[in-house]
């Protein structure tokens, strides 16, 4: 024990002088024996535990095999392993650079790769910090879940190279840079570890993070086998849309009048269709089975006027065959029959960017935040605005929001049924339909309502989460990778920024949700559709065929956060709907009565190139079918019309009193669409506003909110004491107020709650490289060279 202490002390001394030693070592041409000794000592100190476990490069190996090889003596260096988590390989004396500066300083520790994460365990005693309140129970600040790894770079000197998987034989870089999907950046130096260890850990990490693997190897399966979750609790909270009742309930809530289909409960109709869904009443049983569910209008939401929003996967038009055409027309008629014989179709594939566009744009966008060093950061600062424009990410957000506003306009103003479609019907359809519902229906702006919305439109709606995130790194799925769900969250964030008091959930909630997509524990994000989930969970179940494997969904927030941390998910600005307003909805109704006449000839629109070609013209005449779409690639004459119509709709809405529990529309003008600062800037040290940021404002609001609630409680208590004589012992409702207020002594920063109370030097970030680019570009004439005071005539 004494011996150990001595080594720790020695090590601390070495660490203290590390910058000195390292420059000294690097500077020398030949490393003399003395230096070698130091290095050896250093590496032996780190790997005090002895030999490393054999790394496994075969991901299909069973966990038991690895477990048996594990040496108990290493245990002290492990992070707290989760149930079902096993260590594949590890290396000691790895240097983790502290990102904050260029001085190449860092901390030594052990780098491990498990079946869940890449983990770095610092040799230094963990300093117990105040800021642990928002700790994720599954992974810590130095852990990267395997599916959260975005890119790995190998670096040496000043070059860095993207590692693309494949066995990197016998070679490993001295420096490993890991970019995470939650935008963290880690830099490790392997040059102080034993060569063998370094090689193994590097190859291990590359293998487990980048190589194709089977779904069964995802951590969720071994995790769920070793944990049990009370299912009953979950049921109460979020509507999962995995039963007929849930769907019926939602249709009743919106007063829809459609048909719930339960024929697919065992995926007999099609494994790609949801287990349960809703179609217009006029869709017959035989219609259900055609084209594997393509072209089938799926109900999303009913407007209080009676019209409804439907989405569908479009049927590719095969020219020689006229059958899909007639089928489509039939379906369209069915939709039109839902309300007033009117329908608008909207082919999102034509008007919105493709999933590939979305991916490309996001890949450019995220690079602005994956910053390796401060110099790079400040260099990019000058061109920040034009870079934003060039990557087009914000513009894609704007387009999605605008499309949603167009649909809202049709539902709200014209009371027509709307059918949105795209190939597959589960990407942009999900984005647009969820946004439409958020704008129109205040229920979805509550926390539980929002979770139900995601369940309904995305999980049950069959968004291919697995393919879109490509957790498995399958080569043939590279093409299908795309952050569509993140795009949706981005749009929600924009709405929330503009209309804060309308949303019960907070910005932090959205950020955490966007991170959770990359934590391979929750069934929510692991599958491509209902059928996929069902078959896999059944197959993986250790017990009988009857009970599928019980895994947590992301909505089981207690898996990740304790109650106090979850308090930060609620928005202190949210105002609950006043109770007496429940009749508002009905009072709107008469307004629409005058529109009960059939669409007149005024609905005629000039023939346009659309899904329904001229053959469908008759149908259009009968039904008043209109297309909302404009053609994005060929800016035809109607594109400004659409946008100006949206503008008028927005302006008309703007002049009415703002009701946070009514229709919400986003402003789409340039300055209104912004960057989601919390999500993207939280890890970048140089842009943390110490003592400022939105939290400074919100904490004040939650503080007073807490006081109001406390007063209310007192009032209730007094009321109780007055009426009856027993004290109303109401449970203390927890508020975010308590959480933030408790820490008001700690200096919070703009990255709250993600980075807290790190002992940052209280020193401002002084931008480097200020002026280089500024004036070189076209400053007109000699303005810059002129004197401050114009000419001689102005010398007053």
């Amino acid at each position: 024990m004494r011996m150990f202490d001595g080594r720790v002390l020695l090590k601390q001394v070495i660490l203290l002088f590390w910058p000195l030693i390292s420059t000294w070592v690097q500077g020398a041409e030949k490393i003399d024996s003395c230096q070698l000794q130091v290095l050896e000592m250093l590496s032996s100190l780190g790997s005090a535990g002895g030999k490393s476990a054999k790394p496994s490069f075969v991901s299909y190996v069973t966990p038991e095999e690895i477990k048996s090889e594990k040496e108990p003596s290493r245990k002290e260096k492990h992070p707290d392993l989760l149930p079902g988590e096993v260590v594949f390989c590890s290396a000691s004396t790895v240097l983790k650079y502290t990102q904050d500066d260029l001085s190449q300083r860092g901390v030594f520790g052990v780098l491990l790769c498990t079946n869940f994460r890449v983990s770095f365990v610092s040799d230094e005693e963990p300093t117990e910090e105040m800021g642990q309140l928002f700790k994720n129970k599954l992974y810590g600040e130095n852990d990267i879940p395997l599916s959260c790894v975005d890119n790995i770079y190998g670096g040496s000197e000043d070059k860095r190279k993207l590692i693309t998987g494949g066995l990197v034989k016998n070679k490993y870089p001295s420096k490993m840079i890991i970019h995470c999907k939650d935008l963290r950046v880690f830099q490790f130096s392997l040059s102080f570890s034993k060569e063998e260890d370094a090689k193994k850990i590097f190859q291990g990490i590359v293998h487990h993070c980048l190589e194709p693997k089977s779904l069964r190897c995802l951590f969720a399966f071994s995790y769920c086998e070793n944990t049990s979750y009370p299912e009953a609790q979950r049921k109460k909270q979020t509507v999962m849309f995995d039963s007929v009742e849930d769907w019926t309930q939602d249709m009743k809530r919106t007063k829809g009048n459609c048909r719930v289909v339960s024929e697919n409960s065992n995926f007999e109709l099609s494994p790609k269709l949801p287990q349960y869904f809703i179609v217009p009443k006029n869709v017959s049983d035989e219609d259900l089975t055609k084209y594997q569910g393509k072209g089938l209008p799926m109900w999303c939401w009913s407007h209080h006027s009676g019209c409804a929003l439907f989405k569908t996967a479009s049927i590719p038009l095969v020219q020689e065959d006229n059958v899909p055409q007639t089928y489509m027309e039939k379906m369209l008629t069915a939709v039109a029959h839902n309300h007033l014989y009117s329908v608008k179709t909207e082919d999102l594939s034509d008007t919105l960017p493709t999933v590939q566009d979305i991916l490309l744009s996001y890949n450019k966008f995220k690079q602005f935040f994956l910053i390796d060093n401060t110099t790079e950061f400040w260099m990019s600062d000058m061109k920040w605005f034009s870079s934003l424009d060039n990557c087009g990410w914000l513009d894609i957000i704007r387009q999605c929001l605008q499309k949603a506003v167009e649909v809202v306009e049709s539902l709200e103003k014209e009371n027509t049924n709307v059918l949105i479609m795209e190939e597959g019907g589960s990407d942009l359809c999900c984005v647009v339909s969820s946004l439409v519902q958020l704008m129109l229906d205040p229920y979805y702006r509550t926390l539980l309502g929002f979770q139900s919305l995601v369940q309904k439109e995305w999980v049950a709606g069959g968004h291919a989460f697995l393919d879109r995130s490509n957790h498995l790194h399958l080569k043939d799925k590279v093409e299908s990778q795309s952050p569509v769900f993140l795009l949706f969250l981005e749009c929600v964030w924009q709405l929330q920024q503009q209309h804060g008091p309308a949303f019960q959930f907070s910005e932090t909630y959205l950020t955490v949700l966007s991170d959770s997509v990359h934590v391979p524990v929750f069934t929510t994000f692991l599958f491509n559709n209902d059928g996929h989930r069902d078959s896999l969970l059944r197959a993986e179940s250790p017990h009988t065929q009857r009970s599928p494997l019980n895994c947590p969904t992301v909505w089981d927030w207690s898996v990740q956060f304790d109650c106090k941390a979850q308090d930060l998910f609620t928005n202190p600005l949210y105002t609950e709907k006043p109770k007496q307003d429940t009749s508002v909805r009905k009072s709107y109704r008469p307004r629409h009565l005058r529109q009960l006449s059939l669409p007149s000839s005024a609905f005629k629109t000039p023939p346009k190139k659309g899904f329904f070609k001229d053959e469908a013209d008759n149908l259009k005449k009968i039904l008043g079918v209109k297309r909302l779409s404009r053609w994005m690639l060929s800016p035809s004459s109607d594109s400004p019309q659409t946008s100006s119509s949206v503008r008028e709709f927005y302006e008309a809405w703007q002049t009415k009193p703002l009701d946070y529990h009514g229709l919400l529309l986003p402003c789409l003008d340039g300055p209104s669409i912004r960057v989601w600062m919390q999500r993207y800037l939280r890890w970048i040290h140089d842009v943390q506003i110490l003592g400022g940021g939105p939290v400074a404002m919100l904490s004040k609001v939650s503080e007073i909110l807490g006081e109001v609630q406390e007063l209310q409680r007192q009032l209730d208590r007094h009321g109780c004491t007055l009426t009856s004589n027993h004290k109303g012992a109401r449970p203390r409702a927890k508020t975010a107020a308590a959480v933030i207020a408790a820490r008001s002594s700690v200096r919070l920063s703009s990255s709250f709650p993600f980075v807290t109370s790190r002992n940052w030097a209280f020193k401002p970030a002084i931008p480097t490289s200020l002026l280089q680019s500024l004036m070189v570009t076209g400053m007109p004439g000699n303005l810059a060279d002129r004197e401050d005071d114009g000419g001689p005539e102005s010398l007053v």
């Binding site: 209309h499 009415k656 402003c667 703009s750 004036m775 303005l783 114009g790």
Partner: protein, 665 residues
């Protein structure tokens, strides 16, 4: 019904006077309407409620909420205060002319003038020009559309094109507050009679036409004399001056040492007045290094001055060198002195040709010279011109960010903030004294020194403290407002005009965005200052120096803006303010955190709804808390009464039935 019409009319005038009924309506929607209705409800019970009471009552929430349309309403509020009992005026609202301020008189009025609004389209109405304002009212709309702007805002009036086929002539008004207005009206048949726009051209530029600026006529009396807000001696005393190292000198009492400096100056104890004069000879315009701010603990100081007259030959001044050495010595914590030259080094070097230049590190030992790369007034003026093109009247949806970047406006803001940050950092973290100068030391120097002081000293983040800061660093130290703004001067191309002060306010706004709870004032306070920078209603921003202000007897003849602001501080208070005055604020000066001040630059666009629901929610909560507190207290009283009575019934009972409940304060 009639009452309603009146009310809506009334709100038009008082809320905004603006712009656009749509926007106006919006603001009412957002906050006003509810409040107004409450106010209406109240007044319907007691009809005698005077209008001004109601207006101040109803107008409050709008301030916190919307920044765009309230601005001009300030021009009205003083008037309301002026005639609190003018009940009869309710009826006058329906007329087509404005309510006049004291000493304001109608100069001309024309019917059937068309205002071509970029957002609504053409509006036909009556145009009135007074010696203070331009007032346009269109009665065709419901509620009536009103445009009301002080003439001081107008920078240029020009006739656009010839007479059209319909015999209409068109006039364009370029305004200093980032908008352009366009009017059209029938050509005068009687060629002898002057068009209203010719009258306008005369009244809008009183200085050029030998007329008096309205500020000198406006005789409103406020409860407080705003000219007394700043007392140099008191402010230095607050900073702990004079002390053993620094003294207050009277050498500039009659502005003989330097005519652009204030009469009260703080200089090192060891330097006698005679030596100051020799230093003045070596500094441009005699603006010697003097103390602006001293750190209460480390004694590090912020010193401001103008450039040294080094010239091509590298002239030196022993007195100046000794003087700076003394400044350094006054701070025992550091053996260094930082000289921040606000200019780009190229420009600083170019100044040598004209006799100016910068301190060489050879001559000034222990001093380190840093260039802050902030550009001159001409570059800034050009940048603002481009910005106006980008934001007014409409924003191009695509390429917004690229367009914004091409104006370089935020880049300049960033450089200024970055400069101030470096200064504040040196003083706070480095405990080192700093000297700040540019060429003359009245533009960039004022920006940097005052921003650094806002970062360092919480006092300047209060409403009154900020007024002191402006009075001190900008007004008394001779920022040339008259020249930079061109009050009442028709020479709109004057190369001396520049938005230097606007930039400073923008920088402060950026800081309020980053530290939403650190400032006692709100966004509306900053907008009000900017609006009255141009309005020529108050004397505050008249003239170029303290000497001129004394000579013109401004405190005697005009009203100070602070009198108006301090008479209703609640309008300008940030409800979220937490007084942590001891905290130093270091803003993040990355483009990632800088944004265009939509509430100021794009406030005329009705689509850009202000997004400040936090304040509104906060105020609601405050009200709720007060209400609950009251009820709790009532109940408590009742409970104590009951328990008292019950205990008296059961006399001698030793137990207390109710524990006193702690109430929040």
């Amino acid at each position: 019904m009639r009452r309603n019409i009146l009310d809506s009319e009334y709100t038009v005038c008082h809320y905004t006077t603006v712009i656009q009924w749509k926007m106006l309506k919006y603001s009412l929607n957002l906050t006003g309407i509810r409040v107004t209705k409450v106010a209406m409800g109240d007044s319907s019970k007691s009809t005698s409620t005077s209008r001004s009471d109601r207006s101040t009552h109803a107008a409050k929430p709008t301030f916190a909420m919307s920044s765009d349309n309230v601005s001009i309403s300030t021009d009205f509020s003083p008037e309301l205060r002026g005639r609190p009992k003018a009940v009869a005026k309710v009826l006058r609202d329906s007329k087509e002319e404005p309510q006049l301020l004291p000493k304001e008189s109608v100069q001309d009025m024309a019917k059937d003038v068309t205002y071509i609004c970029p957002y609504i389209g053409a509006l036909r109405g009556t145009l009135t020009v007074t010696n203070y304002r331009l007032f346009f009212k269109c009665m065709d709309r419901e509620p009536a559309f009103v445009l009301d702007l002080p003439l001081g805002v107008v920078s240029r009036v020009e006739k656009i094109g010839g007479a059209s086929s319909r015999g209409e002539v068109s006039y364009g008004l370029a305004c200093k507050d980032i908008r352009n207005l366009r009017f059209a009206h029938k050509q005068m048949e009687d060629s002898l009679r002057k068009s209203i726009f010719e009258i306008l051209m005369k009244c809008a530029f009183p200085v050029s036409n030998g007329l008096t600026i309205f500020a000198f006529e406006y005789g409103q009396v406020y409860p407080e004399n705003g000219w007394k807000v700043y007392d140099a001696q008191a402010e230095y005393k607050r900073q702990g001056l004079p002390n053993e190292s620094w003294r207050i000198t009277k050498v500039n009492d009659h502005y003989e040492l330097c005519d652009t400096y204030p009469s009260t100056l703080v200089v090192p104890v060891n330097i006698p007045d005679e030596e100051l004069k020799r230093v003045a000879a070596f500094r441009a315009k005699g603006r010697i290094p003097v103390l602006s701010w001293i750190h209460p603990e480390s004694q590090a100081t912020v010193i401001r001055c103008s450039q040294p007259m080094v010239g091509v030959n590298g002239k030196r001044s022993k007195d100046d060198e000794k003087y700076l050495q003394t400044i350094m010595d006054a701070n025992a914590q550091s053996h260094k002195l930082f000289i921040f030259d606000a200019r780009p080094s190229v420009n600083a070097a170019a100044n040598k040709m004209k006799g100016g230049g910068y301190e060489s590190e050879d001559a000034y030992q222990n001093a380190e010279l840093v260039f802050l790369d902030i550009h001159n007034i001409h570059v800034m003026r050009e940048s603002l011109r481009k910005l106006k093109e980008v934001v007014y009247p409409n924003i191009e949806e695509s390429h917004w960010f690229s367009n914004l970047e091409s104006t370089h406006w935020l880049e300049h803001i960033k450089l200024i903030l970055a400069g101030a940050l470096r200064i504040a950092d040196k003083v706070e973290s480095g405990k080192t004294s700093v000297v700040v100068h540019c060429s003359d030391g009245w533009d960039r120097t004022a920006q940097l020194a005052s921003l650094a002081m806002v970062m360092l000293d919480g006092h300047y983040r209060t409403i009154r403290g900020f007024q002191v800061l402006l009075e001190k660093e900008w007004l008394s130290f001779g920022h040339r407002f008259q020249l930079r703004i061109g009050h009442g001067d028709k020479n709109h191309t004057d190369a001396d005009r520049s938005p230097v002060f606007l930039q400073f306010i923008d920088c402060v706004w950026q800081m309020t965005r980053q530290f939403p709870a650190a400032f006692e004032f709100n966004e509306y306070f900053l907008i009000t200052i900017l609006d009255h920078l141009y309005s020529c209603l108050f004397g505050t921003f008249m003239c170029n120096s303290e000497q001129q202000r004394v000579k013109e007897e401004l405190p005697k003849k005009t009203v100070s803006l602070w009198a108006y602001i301090n008479s209703q501080p609640e309008e300008f208070t940030n409800p979220l303010y937490v007084n942590y005055s001891n905290h130093v604020l270091f803003p993040v000066v990355s483009m990632r955190h800088l944004e265009l001040w939509v509430g100021y630059y794009i406030r005329w666009n009705p689509r850009m709804r202000p997004q400040e629901p936090v304040h509104q929610r906060y105020k609601e909560l405050l009200a709720k808390r007060a209400e609950l507190q009251k009820r709790v207290e009532e109940l408590q009283r009742e409970v104590t009464n009951r328990s008292a009575s019950s205990s008296s019934e059961r006399a001698g009972s030793p137990t207390r039935s109710i524990t006193p409940v702690q109430t929040f304060v």
